[in-house]
């Protein structure tokens, strides 16, 4: 008799549209070594039938690179927000429960709308102001390699939203901007040219919903898949903001 194939059991929270009621469906996918959650969702696409043999539609989610660099496939897996591509089945307890990261509006199933994070980058002026992309016949300033290493660490932020989902202060009842843009403010303020607009950025996070709304729960640093030391940088930023606030007071 043929050996029964090892199966992986999924319980997936689904939702047909932004205003629809969530429901769950269960699926079974053949186990194979190194299987990850995205690969399993791809298997469901090939045969969208539930565990009970009911024909359904493929699960909707977002993914691109499958290497944990693009940040697209963020979802909540067994209660922990993370990238689905690097969530290996071998490391997960079964049944594997998938749910959308509900800090963000749900578009459909596991697919979420993270526009707010890109809007945050506008608010904090998340760029270095250059005169233009043309030649200026002048090299950019040298940088202390140690500062550059810190900047590199932060610049790996892939706007995935794990820190936002994990933060208890980012929610529909609060206007807190969240850890992601705060980390970026520190990044641009570290750059020798970016520093010229430090004041504008600090003022942007001094306003309502800014850094003062951080409750220091330390969840963000644990959730960050790139291990960016968010709380360390937010603490530094807090000092910078306080200094800036004093300056603003005296310059009035």
């Amino acid at each position: 008799m043929a050996e029964t194939k090892k199966k992986v059991h999924f319980i997936i929270e689904r939702q047909d549209g932004p205003n629809s009621k969530p429901y769950t469906e269960e699926f079974e996918v053949d186990y194979r070594p190194a299987l990850n959650v995205v690969a399993a969702l791809m298997e469901i696409q090939k045969n969208p039938v539930t565990k009970d043999g009911k024909k359904t539609t493929a699960v909707v989610w977002e993914c691109n690179c499958l290497e944990k660099v693009c940040g697209a496939c963020t979802m909540v897996i067994n209660g922990k927000v993370q990238q689905a591509c690097s969530a290996l089945i071998d490391h997960l307890e079964q049944p594997v429960r998938l749910a959308p990261a509900r800090t963000f509006p749900v578009i459909r199933d596991l697919h979420i709308d993270r526009t707010v994070m890109f809007e945050n980058l506008k608010r904090v002026q998340g760029w270095v102001s250059v005169d233009g992309s043309w030649e200026v016949h002048n090299d950019a300033p040298r940088q202390n390699p140690k500062t550059a290493t810190t900047a590199y660490e932060i610049s790996r932020c892939m706007t995935c939203g794990c820190c936002m989902e994990a933060c208890p202060n980012v929610n529909s009842g609060s206007d807190f901007i969240g850890p992601q843009p705060l980390g970026q403010v520190h990044l641009f303020n570290l750059h020798p040219i970016g520093e010229y607009n430090k004041e504008e950025r600090l003022n942007a996070i001094m306003d309502k919903g800014g850094i003062a709304s951080c409750g220091n729960s330390q969840n963000c640093v644990q959730a960050c898949p790139k291990e960016i030391k968010l709380t360390t940088y937010i603490a530094k930023l807090n000092r910078d903001v306080n200094k800036q606030a004093l300056k603003n007071l005296f310059n009035k």
Binding site: N47, T57, E67, P145
Partner: protein, 583 residues
């Protein structure tokens, strides 16, 4: 009135073009089917080439130019390459000003590393996530222009096709919202496609799932010519996987990594033995063929499987962390072993398309008003691309296509603007096609069919190509095209319907697979990434020409012809990496 340019694709090339257009006073409608910050450019790891000559090696722009021409086996436009290599150091300085976190030397200057097919240190890098950092820099600059109102982003919108006016000039596009499923036509003065490579035509490869070549195939079916489609780069070092092959950067070898297998019980560093002058840093086509030969013909792969070792374990861990941290993380995360301690196991994988939409030196396609830029064009890499030249060509092509799009918008013979009726007609056609897809109720599953397409293409149109196999493959792909009509669509929803869109993309992928296969069948020689045992040498007499594929609507097949290109700067010479290059 401000000039309106549509840019499709927000990777490195599309964003660079967008910036240039904004700076020239134009307005951009930027279409992308993901947030542009998640574009595939961010998967580029190892670096970007530019002659900075800061390592005491007397590097020169000419040497970069010649390495690129030679590495491409003399099949790329030499004046285009010259322009790119000359611009490279200036582009690096621009990125540096924009805040790219390049890895630095102890004295705070930009560091350089070795890369394949080049003897001098010429590769600028940001750890091992260089593409991510470059993409982010341009993403940030474009966001600043978005705030100023010069850029309007259409993210999660899929390009469907271009619209031509009655003079046959491209004057707009039709696109579909991937959430509301709305299909809408847009006017433009110029359209730039910067939609990346066709990796998904091969199923499992190093590309992102979004790299399906669908947009390229769509404009090909509307009359755009494809150049050199048979030249598909196989990267020698990827982690084989069932969902995707994950890239292990050439930077591993650039930083001292060695490739080996056991032979007679002892490690055999076969690249170093076969190619003493370049060793592990031979170009990708050469390395991939060697690994293929060792595994398939000599049967020396690890445990008899198609794997060889890529070994970094002799290099100090802190050095590795600084130079390669990001990709070592990928290996540890997805394989479970620590490459700092044990050799990695890798195998070649489809990685990049040298071929793409044919363009002139200013990135105009053969359809007036339509331009192509980045991996989706065919311009800079000939028969084989050198590592770290892709970030360069992506960024550089945007600096050419952007200003040219503005020039065309101002003084080109654009003919008449699209009328409301013409826009309506284009929308209606696309709606009808899409509605027909939603009604499909056959027995085939689109994703299963895609899997079969990938298996075929991987088996027959990669490292070694055999004419009778290519004939077989072509017939099989045609059968898949037939079977496409028998797909059943389960998801009938009018909201975020990924299945409906995938079915449309799949047909475009199948059509493009025919182009690659046919062009490979017709080129009876071996050059760069295109290798046939039956025709083991390069045949400049017959094939030092650009392949042109033209769509034949009657048969849905490509018509292949050959045209001359500009090789006026260096005379072709035989390519041999066993010895030092003679320039």
């Amino acid at each position: 009135m401000k000039k309106k340019i549509i840019v499709v694709g927000g990777g490195l090339s599309g964003l660079m073009a967008t910036l240039k257009i904004c700076e020239a006073g134009g307005e951009v409608d930027l279409f992308s089917y993901c947030p542009v910050k998640r574009s595939h450019s961010l998967c580029a790891q190892g670096g970007m080439n530019a002659c900075m000559d800061t390592k005491g090696e007397n590097d020169s722009v000419y040497e970069h130019f010649d390495d690129t021409v030679y590495g491409g086996d003399f099949l790329a436009d030499q004046n285009a390459i010259k322009g790119m290599c000359e611009a490279a150091p200036k582009l690096i300085k621009m990125f540096d000003r924009m805040g790219v976190t390049f890895t630095r030397t102890p004295e705070g200057l930009l560091d350089l590393r070795n890369f394949g097919g080049q003897k001098n240190k010429r590769t600028l890098f940001s750890g091992s996530t260089t593409g991510q950092q470059l993409l982010y820099a341009l993403d940030e600059q474009v966001r600043a222009w978005e705030v100023k109102g010069a850029v309007k982003k259409y993210e999660f919108w899929e390009f469907i096709k271009i619209i031509k006016n009655k003079e046959n000039v491209c004057r707009g596009i039709v696109a579909q919202s991937m959430n509301s499923m709305e299909i809408k036509a847009f006017r433009a003065d110029t359209v730039i496609l910067a939609t990346g490579g066709p990796g998904m035509v091969f199923g499992r490869c190093t590309a992102s799932t979004i790299c399906n070549g669908s947009a390229v195939s769509a404009v090909y079916q509307q009359g755009a010519h494809i150049g050199n489609p048979e030249f598909i780069q196989i990267h020698p070092t990827a982690i084989p996987g069932s969902d995707k092959n994950r890239l292990m950067s050439e930077a591993c070898r650039g930083e001292g990594g060695r490739v080996w297998v056991y032979k007679d019980g002892k490690p055999w560093y076969f690249l170093e033995e076969m190619y003493p002058a370049y060793g592990n840093l031979v170009p990708r086509d050469v390395a991939s063929r060697a690994i293929y030969d060792v595994c398939m013909n000599q049967r020396l792969g690890i445990n008899g499987e198609n794997r060889v070792y890529l070994d970094l374990s002799h290099i100090p861990a802190d050095y590795l962390e600084r130079k390669l941290g990001g990709i070592l993380e990928i290996y540890t995360e997805f394989v479970g072993d620590d490459p700092r301690k044990v050799p990695m196991q890798i195998y070649p994988s489809v990685h990049y398309s040298m071929g793409g939409i044919w363009v002139d030196i200013k990135h105009n396609t053969n359809i007036p008003g339509l331009m192509a830029s980045g991996e989706c064009d065919y311009q800079y890499h000939g028969a084989n691309r050198l590592g770290a030249n892709s970030l360069l060509s992506a960024a550089y092509s945007g600096t050419v296509s952007g200003p040219e799009a503005m020039r065309w918008a101002k003084v080109g013979e654009k003919g008449s603007e699209l009328t409301d009726e013409e826009l309506q007609k284009a929308e209606n056609e696309c709606r009808a096609e899409y509605q027909a897809i939603l009604k499909m109720d056959g027995p085939e599953n689109a994703h299963q069919l895609h899997h079969e397409l990938g298996d075929l293409m991987n088996k027959y149109v990669t490292i070694e190509r055999v004419n009778k196999d290519l004939d077989y493959c072509f017939d099989e792909v045609k059968k898949i095209l037939e079977r496409w009509n028998n797909i059943g669509v389960d998801d009938k929803s009018d909201w975020a319907n990924q299945e409906g869109m995938f079915v449309r993309q799949l047909r475009n992928m199948i059509i493009y697979a025919l182009v690659v296969t046919k062009a490979a069948r017709m080129r009876d020689e071996s050059r760069g990434a295109h290798y046939k045992r039956e025709f083991p040498t390069r045949d400049d007499e017959r094939f030092m020409k650009t392949t042109i594929a033209e769509f034949d609507p009657a048969t849905q097949e490509p018509k292949i012809s050959y045209i001359d290109f500009d090789y006026s700067l260096v005379k072709p010479r035989a390519r041999n990496y066993a010895v030092a290059k003679k320039g």
